[in-house]
C-alpha cells in the first residue's frame, strides 16, 4: 500500500503521517555551513591560518633544531639502514570474511583475526615513503595520591605545563576500586601530547639537560615498545627536578610528580623506531629481541584472509 501525500487547503496536517520519526529530506546537493550564515561571531568564520582569526598562531617563528637535524642528517641514513634488496611485505593478521554458510552472516561485521582480537599491522618494505619520523611525544602524569589529596592533581597539571609549555588535559579515574577508595571520575593527574616544535623543544631538553644528569639512567630499555614503533619510558619524581623550568625555582615545587613519556614515531616496528631515536640522542640499553617474522622478510609471504 502506498500513501500519497495530498496537501489540502483546509488543513495543515499532511496525510499519510509516518508512524516513526523521519529525517526531512533535502532536495539539493549544496553543503550548508551554518556558522557562515549566522551574523554572530564574524571572526570565527576566518580559517585558522588567517591572521584575523583568533585561532591564528605564528608557529614558524624560528628554526626547529631537531627537525633540521632529522632532515639534514638522519633521514637519508635511515633510508639506507632500512633498505633491504627484495624486501617483501609481512602481512598482518587482519579481520576475516565470513564464509556465508548461514544467511545470518549477511551484513555482519567482519570476523575477528585468527588467534587475536585486535588486527595487527602489515609491515611494508622500507622506501622513501615510510622513513621513520618522530611524530609526537605524549606525557602522562598519573598521581596515585591524588585520590586522597585532589590538590595534587592540580600541582601535577601545572608541573606538566611548566615543563612543556602546552596546556595539559586532566585525566580521570576510570574504574571503581573500593579498597583503594578510588571512584570513577576522580581527577588523578594530567596528560599532554606534544607535536612539532613543542615536541622538539621537550626532546632536546630531555636529551641534553635532564637525562645526562640522572645518575642511574643508562638508557631506555631495548624491550620497551608497543610493537608498532611507539617507545615509552618513565621518569620518577626525583628526576623531574633536573628540568630547568623546575630547577630554577625549586622553592615553589614542594612536591614533584613523575611521569611516563611515550615517543610516537611513524616507524613500522620498534626496532626501526629505536634506530631513529638513537639518532635523536636517546640511549638504549639491554638486549634487543627482534621478532622472527621480521627477520625473514625476504621470503614471499602469502596474504591470507
Amino acid at each position: 500500500m502506498t500513501l500519497v501525500s495530498v496537501r489540502s487547503f483546509s488543513s495543515s496536517v499532511s496525510l499519510g503521517k509516518a508512524a516513526c520519526a523521519q529525517v526531512k529530506p533535502v532536495h539539493h546537493k549544496v553543503r550548508i555551513i551554518k556558522k557562515n550564515l549566522s551574523p554572530r561571531f564574524p571572526e570565527l568564520k576566518y580559517p585558522s591560518h588567517d591572521i584575523k582569526s583568533p585561532k591564528f598562531r605564528p608557529y614558524l617563528t624560528h628554526l626547529d633544531r631537531v627537525d633540521h637535524h632529522y632532515h639534514n642528517v638522519l633521514e637519508s641514513d635511515l633510508l639506507l639502514i632500512g633498505y633491504r634488496h627484495g624486501q617483501q611485505p609481512i602481512y598482518g593478521n587482519k579481520r576475516r570474511h565470513w564464509d556465508m554458510s548461514s544467511p545470518y552472516q549477511i551484513n555482519r561485521p567482519l570476523r575477528k583475526p585468527k588467534g587475536q582480537i585486535v588486527p595487527s599491522q602489515t609491515i611494508n618494505p622500507r622506501d622513501t615513503g615510510n622513513i621513520a619520523k618522530l611524530q609526537s611525544i605524549s606525557i602522562n602524569c598519573f598521581v596515585k595520591d591524588a585520590k586522597q589529596y585532589p590538590a595534587m592533581a592540580i600541582g601535577a597539571t601545572l608541573q606538566l605545563q611548566q615543563i612543556t609549555g602546552v596546556k595539559p588535559k586532566p585525566i580521570y579515574a576510570k574504574t571503581n576500586v573500593p579498597n583503594w577508595k578510588l571512584r570513577p571520575g576522580m581527577k588523578m593527574g594530567a596528560k599532554v601530547e606534544l607535536f612539532g616544535r613543542d615536541a622538539s623543544q621537550f626532546l632536546s631538553t630531555l636529551t641534553e639537560i635532564v637525562l645526562p644528569r640522572i645518575g642511574e639512567f643508562n638508557g631506555i630499555s631495548n624491550r620497551a615498545g608497543d610493537r608498532y614503533g611507539n617507545i615509552a619510558f618513565g621518569l620518577t619524581s626525583d628526576h623531574i627536578k633536573y628540568f630547568p623550568e623546575i630547577e630554577l625555582n625549586q622553592d615553589s615545587w614542594p612536591n614533584l610528580y613523575g611521569f611516563d613519556i611515550t615517543l610516537h614515531t611513524t616507524a613500522q616496528t620498534d626496532a626501526d623506531a629505536r634506530i631513529l631515536l638513537s639518532g635523536l640522542g636517546l640511549p638504549f640499553v639491554g638486549s634487543e629481541r627482534i621478532p622472527k617474522t621480521l627477520l625473514d622478510d625476504l621470503t614471499v609471504h602469502p596474504y591470507e584472509n
Partner: protein, 346 residues
C-alpha cells in the same frame, strides 16, 4: 625606501587588463610600497591613523615575497604564451592558468577583498574570487531558504546553482539587496524587481529566462492550491560585464516580456505567500509557440520548463502577506477587489 616593489609582469599593463590594478592611486602606492609612505590610507579616522603601527619588519620581507610570487606569475604567463602559440583551443585551461597567474597579486587580492562590488568580472581571476565569495555565503543562504520554504520541490524538483542572483525593489530608493525568503510589504513589491545575475564562467551574450511564481494561490473548489505566474521574461541578454536587469533595460527591450509584472496582492487571512524567482539559462532563443503562456492563474511551471528545454541555474525568493496597502496596489493595477478568508466561509 618607498619605491614600488613591482618590477616585473605585475606592473606591466601592455597585455594585462588595467582592471587588475588598484584604481585609487594612493591605495595602490600603499600596497606597492614596502612600507606605508602616506600612513594607513584605508583607515578613515585620524586618531586610528595616528595610533597605527605596521608589523615589525614587514617592509623588509614584503618586497622579497612579492618578487617570489611575481616570478612565479611570469613563468605561468610564458606558459600561456606557449599554449597560445601552439594554437590551443582549450579556453578553460588558459583561463585556469590566468587565474593561477594573478591569484596572488596583492593588487588583485586587495580589489577582490575590499572593492568586490566594482571588480571586472571579465577577468578570470576576479570571477574566481567572486565565486569563492558567493559559495561562502549567498549560495548557501539561497539553498537553505529554498529548502526550508519548500520552494524546492513545490515549484521545481531541485536546483544546482550556478549563478549568483541578487534582487532588489525600486522602492523608496533603498539600495539593499533582498535576503532570500524575507517578508516584504506590498508597497515594496508594487514595482517589478531589479536583478543582478552574476555568472562565474566566461559569458558573452548568454540568454536567460526569468519566472516569478506564487505556488500558494488558493483553489477553494478543489480544496488545493495552484501556481500563479507573476512575471515572465525570456531571451534576456546578459554577459559578465552587463549583468543587471532593470527598468531601463526592459523599456528598451519590450520583446523580453512574456507576461507583464503582476504585483503580489495576498488575500486577507491567507498567511504568507511564497514568491519564487527562477533563473534559467537558454540554449538559444525560445520558441514563440512553446513560450506562450495562456493561463497565468494555473501555471504549470514544470511543463513550461520541459517544453522550452530550460536549465535552472539560479533562484531567489521572498514572501508577502496581506497588509493595509494591498488595496492601493490593486487599485493601481486595476485588479478586482480581494477576498477575505475566514473560518465561517467553510
Amino acid at each position: 625606501m618607498s619605491s614600488s616593489v613591482s618590477r616585473g609582469i605585475w606592473s606591466n599593463f601592455t597585455n594585462r587588463s588595467k582592471s587588475l590594478a588598484i584604481k585609487s592611486a594612493k591605495l595602490q602606492k600603499a600596497v606597492l610600497s614596502p612600507d606605508l609612505p602616506n600612513g594607513p590610507v584605508s583607515l578613515k579616522a585620524l586618531s586610528s591613523k595616528r595610533k597605527y603601527y605596521s608589523p615589525i619588519d614587514l617592509d623588509k620581507i614584503y618586497p622579497l615575497a612579492y618578487e617570489i610570487l611575481e616570478k612565479k606569475s611570469e613563468k605561468i604567463y610564458s606558459k600561456i604564451e606557449d599554449l597560445k602559440k601552439k594554437g590551443s583551443e582549450n579556453v578553460e585551461e588558459i583561463n585556469d592558468l590566468l587565474v593561477e597567474a594573478e591569484i596572488n597579486n596583492p593588487e588583485v587580492v586587495y580589489n577582490s577583498l575590499y572593492a568586490a562590488n566594482t571588480i571586472d568580472l571579465t577577468q578570470p581571476v576576479y570571477r574566481h574570487y567572486a565565486k569563492k565569495q558567493w559559495e561562502s555565503y549567498n549560495k548557501m543562504i539561497t539553498m537553505q531558504r529554498l529548502e526550508t520554504l519548500s520552494i524546492i520541490p513545490d515549484t521545481l524538483p531541485t536546483l544546482e546553482p550556478e549563478v549568483d542572483v541578487h534582487m532588489k525593489f525600486p522602492h523608496n530608493n533603498v539600495d539593499t539587496w533582498v535576503e532570500p525568503g524575507s517578508i516584504l510589504s506590498s508597497n515594496v513589491t508594487s514595482k517589478p524587481p531589479i536583478f543582478k545575475i552574476t555568472e562565474f564562467k566566461e559569458s558573452k551574450n548568454d540568454l536567460y529566462t526569468i519566472l516569478i511564481v506564487n505556488p500558494d494561490t488558493p483553489d477553494v473548489e478543489n480544496n488545493s492550491y495552484t501556481t500563479t505566474l507573476h512575471w515572465a521574461l525570456k531571451d534576456v541578454e546578459l554577459s559578465n560585464n552587463d549583468s543587471i536587469i532593470d527598468i531601463q533595460k526592459l523599456d528598451s527591450n519590450p520583446q523580453y516580456s512574456i507576461v507583464d509584472y503582476l504585483p503580489p496582492t495576498p488575500e486577507k487571512n491567507l498567511g504568507k505567500q511564497r514568491f519564487a524567482v527562477w533563473i534559467f539559462r537558454q540554449d538559444g532563443k525560445l520558441n514563440e509557440e512553446t513560450s506562450k503562456v495562456e493561463n497565468i492563474n494555473n501555471f504549470q511551471i514544470r511543463e513550461f520548463v520541459e517544453n522550452n528545454k530550460l536549465q535552472a541555474v539560479g533562484a531567489h525568493a521572498w514572501r508577502s502577506v496581506w497588509d493595509l496597502n494591498v488595496e492601493n496596489v490593486r487599485k493601481e493595477y486595476g485588479l478586482p477587489a480581494g477576498r477575505i478568508f475566514s473560518r465561517d466561509s467553510f
